[in-house]
């Protein structure tokens, strides 16, 4: 293991691995069968949606139950733009900006309320969104929905539609993931974490909880819009049911199961959102909800931190079975990269206020 770590710590090895991964990702769609490609693309769509939810809930700790509204809004803007032959870049920008602006306006009001009130305001979004989509039938196609085949593979590529769509997802989704990874690991990520832990401490450090909550919420809705663009590119159809409130709850469950405040967890959450209904269908189509509920409970009981913590939990179990080495234990705390709940609980506190912010602690790890 130390040999592998030693190898990995060399810069050229890491670059080589990154290059290999990129090459693999670009070759893979050509090699896989149609159904796998379509499934991977779907996972990408919802991984991006879960990532957006993670920014506002996982990293900043604000309960949002309205993420699906932004996905739906992005999908509708994409569908409308594509059916009116807008330039594809313009369609993408609009599908991100329109939900973003709505999110900003909602957040400006909702973040003042704080706490559970923000959750209540966000519940209203999908509940208002569905009848809105039905009524504005000139823009949305009413309750019959709208379809758009703008993402079919252009002739010059010689690709199948599913391959082309997966490339769209890889490029857009990859860019969003990279941007958000950098966002949450930098100054803003630290500010989000402090706002999540304790708003009073944040304020005392010159970090305005209000501003960062609005920022997180707006970023989440921008990402929701991007996810909506991908939704339209992959599913090629949207209707008011896309925004139904139940899907928001499923997104939330996916985030928790994947792993809150985790980039990898967002990917796993997207996979959960897409694959689990399929698996439960394969087992017994009449028991899908029951099976999904059971799996949800099981995951949360065994892996309270989500699937992303699985390697860590395994490593800890392994370490326990080996002879404990005290020096090693001290250097690597049991839960290093978790600015989530686990680390909050473990953070040493002075009169209820964390003695160190979790991100600081993580930097030392």
């Amino acid at each position: 293991m130390s040999l592998a770590t030693g190898l990995l710590s060399r810069a050229w090895v890491r670059w080589a691995i990154t290059a290999v991964v990129v090459v693999v990702l670009f070759v893979l769609p050509l090699q896989l069968d149609e159904y796998t490609n379509q499934n991977l693309a779907r996972i990408g769509v919802f991984a991006v949606a879960v990532l957006g939810l993670n920014v506002v809930m996982g990293y900043t700790g604000q309960v949002s139950l309205g993420q699906i509204f932004f996905v739906g809004a992005g999908a509708y803007v994409t569908g409308y733009g594509a059916s009116h032959d807008w330039n594809i870049v313009l369609v993408f920008v609009a599908s991100v900006l329109v939900p973003g602006v709505i999110g900003l306006l909602v957040a400006l009001a909702a973040a003042r309320l704080g706490g559970l009130a923000i959750a209540m305001v966000t519940i209203a979004l999908p509940i208002v969104g569905v009848p809105f989509a039905k009524r504005l039938s000139d823009f949305t196609g009413g309750s019959q929905g709208m379809s758009s085949a703008f993402s079919n593979a252009p002739g010059w590529t010689g690709l199948y539609n599913d391959q082309w769509q997966l490339y769209i997802v890889l490029v857009v989704g990859g860019a969003v993931f990279l941007l958000i990874r950098n966002l949450v690991r930098g100054k803003y990520g630290r500010a989000f974490a402090i706002v999540k832990d304790n708003e009073a401490v944040a304020a005392s450090m010159g970090i305005s909880p209000y501003r960062y909550k609005v920022l997180a919420f707006t970023v989440a809705s921008l990402i929701g819009g991007a996810s909506g663009f991908l939704y339209m590119a992959v599913i090629q159809f949207t209707s008011p049911e896309t925004m139904s409130f139940g899907h928001s709850i499923t997104l939330l469950a996916s985030m928790v199961i994947g792993g809150a405040a985790s980039i990898l967890g967002s990917l796993l959450g997207g996979a959960y959102y897409v694959l689990v209904p399929q698996w439960s269908n394969d087992i017994d189509p009449n028991l899908t909800e029951l099976l999904q509920g059971a799996l949800l409970l099981l995951t949360l009981l065994l892996l309270p931190g989500g699937l992303a913590t699985l390697p860590r939990v395994l490593a800890r179990t392994l370490r326990r079975t080996r002879t404990p080495d005290p020096s090693e234990r001290r250097q690597t705390p049991s839960a290093p990269p978790a600015p989530g709940r686990a680390s909050v609980e473990e953070t040493p506190t002075v009169g209820g206020i964390p003695a160190q912010s979790p991100t600081e602690r993580q930097e030392q790890a």
Partner: protein, 417 residues
């Protein structure tokens, strides 16, 4: 310590990619999965044919959704038990059904379709307009039949727009028109008040009704109001309509509690017109009894299926076979609560007809013979209705009969009044 984190991330990504690659193995693209023109299409062999269904089996529409599978399983379960369907090419095949839950979510419906299309001969019987629309274009591109689906959306019956599709149930327009014609034929003067849901559902009914009464001088529409599907009360609209003293209310409403409330409200206002209610909001037990519908001179609705609950059909042979098939082959021991159970049973019978006629085991051959069924009375169909797939722009069943509530159930009527 930034480097260490990067190491971990890179390691993780490398691991994922390795897993992804090893999972998928070296499977290149299998070109032409739909089979050549000479051989049989996907999903059909010399001994079996497989049908795919994506329909809501969980969530708010699970009740009707479950019925869309149960009736189909009941019909083909009985047929398989007798050996199978004798196809037009001389071979006898058993019919297998692969049903999947889409929870009325278009995204899941598309995903189910993507999964099923590699192994099924045709998609059928699924319930829901958005869920069927979600994979309509994909089915056209893949040339996979998506037939006899349960949606009143006319696009599925338009051969130009939907070459691989055919709807099964009458459109909203068909239903409204049937009542309009009956009213126009009454010969008496009628003042009609219209209340409709402000979407394609309500508009379809009103359009059909107006088509039915077109040119009839004895019918005057005195007032037309709408409500939104999200409204919690229509008391204001009913009060306004009561002011017109119309003797007929055409109520194109799909929300059960609102339908009950409007029947009650009119009685409170001592306004006693005759009512028309759409087929899905006319249930005797769920709507008319709580709405005290016997207070009115008549409550009319339309139907094309025999209702097993109705005492009039208790001894009917079709109904008896249907109920026992449902129990034996579809694991549905109760009295069907939704008409979709009967409808999907008829879908089975209609597919059976198409199978018997198709000469080649191909999807093209199937679509051709499916579009060539005329005057077929499927089991459970009411007298005066039949399956006719030859008319462009119309679903497989476009004929409905008007029925009047008699205190316990519905009975077919020839004349209004």
């Amino acid at each position: 310590m930034k480097r260490k984190k990067n190491v971990r991330l890179t390691g993780a990504i490398a691991l994922i990619s390795a897993v992804a690659v090893s999972l998928t193995g070296c499977g290149g693209r299998d070109d032409d999965s739909s089979g050549g023109a000479r051989g049989a299409s996907t999903g059909i062999t010399d001994t079996t044919v497989t049908l795919g269904v994506t329909t809501p089996l969980s969530g708010a529409t699970a009740g009707p959704g479950t019925c869309t599978v149960a009736g189909l399983k009941a019909y083909f379960g009985a047929v398989n038990a007798k050996g199978g369907v004798k196809f037009g090419d001389g071979k006898t095949r058993k019919v297998e059904i692969k049903a999947q839950d889409d929870a009325y979510d278009p995204q899941k419906a598309k995903s189910n379709y993507d999964q099923l299309k590699g192994s099924v001969f045709a998609m059928t019987s699924g319930l829901g307009t958005p869920t069927n629309r979600a994979y309509r274009e994909a089915a056209i591109a893949d040339k996979v039949p998506q037939v006899l689906v349960m949606t009143g959306d006319p696009i599925f019956s338009d051969t130009k727009e939907s070459p691989e599709q055919l709807g099964f149930v009458p459109t909203y327009v068909n239903e409204g028109e049937a009542f309009g014609k009956l009213l126009a034929a009454s010969g008496q003067d009628h003042k009609v008040a219209i209340l409709s849901q402000n979407d394609d559902y309500g508009q379809g009914y009103v359009e059909g009704f107006k088509k039915g009464v077109e040119g009839a001088s004895n019918i005057s529409i005195v007032k037309e109001l709408t409500y939104e599907a999200t409204d919690t009360s229509v008391d204001a609209q009913i009060t306004q309509l009561a002011g017109t003293h119309a003797d007929v209310v055409f109520n194109a409403m799909s929300i059960t509690p609102l339908a009950i409330a409007s029947l009650q409200k009119a009685q409170q206002l001592n306004w006693k017109p005759s009512w028309f209610l759409p087929s899905n909001t006319s249930s005797p037990k769920a709507i008319l009894e709580p709405g005290k519908a016997m207070a009115y001179p008549g409550v009319y609705s339309v139907s094309f299926a025999k209702a097993p609950q109705s005492p009039a059909f208790a001894g009917d042979e079709d109904v008896k076979t249907f109920l026992s098939d449902l129990k034996q082959y579809a694991d549905y021991p109760d009295m069907p609560a939704f008409p979709h159970c009967m409808w999907s049973y008829m879908v089975g019978a209609t597919l059976d007809q198409a199978f018997q006629k198709m000469k080649e085991p191909t999807r093209e051959g199937f679509m051709k013979s499916l579009r060539d069924i005329k005057d077929f009375t499927a089991p459970l169909m009411l007298e005066g209705t039949s399956v006719d797939t030859t008319v462009d722009g119309q679903p497989a069943v476009s004929s409905v009969v008007v029925q009047k509530y008699n205190g316990t159930g519905y009975a077919t009527v020839e004349n209004f009044g």
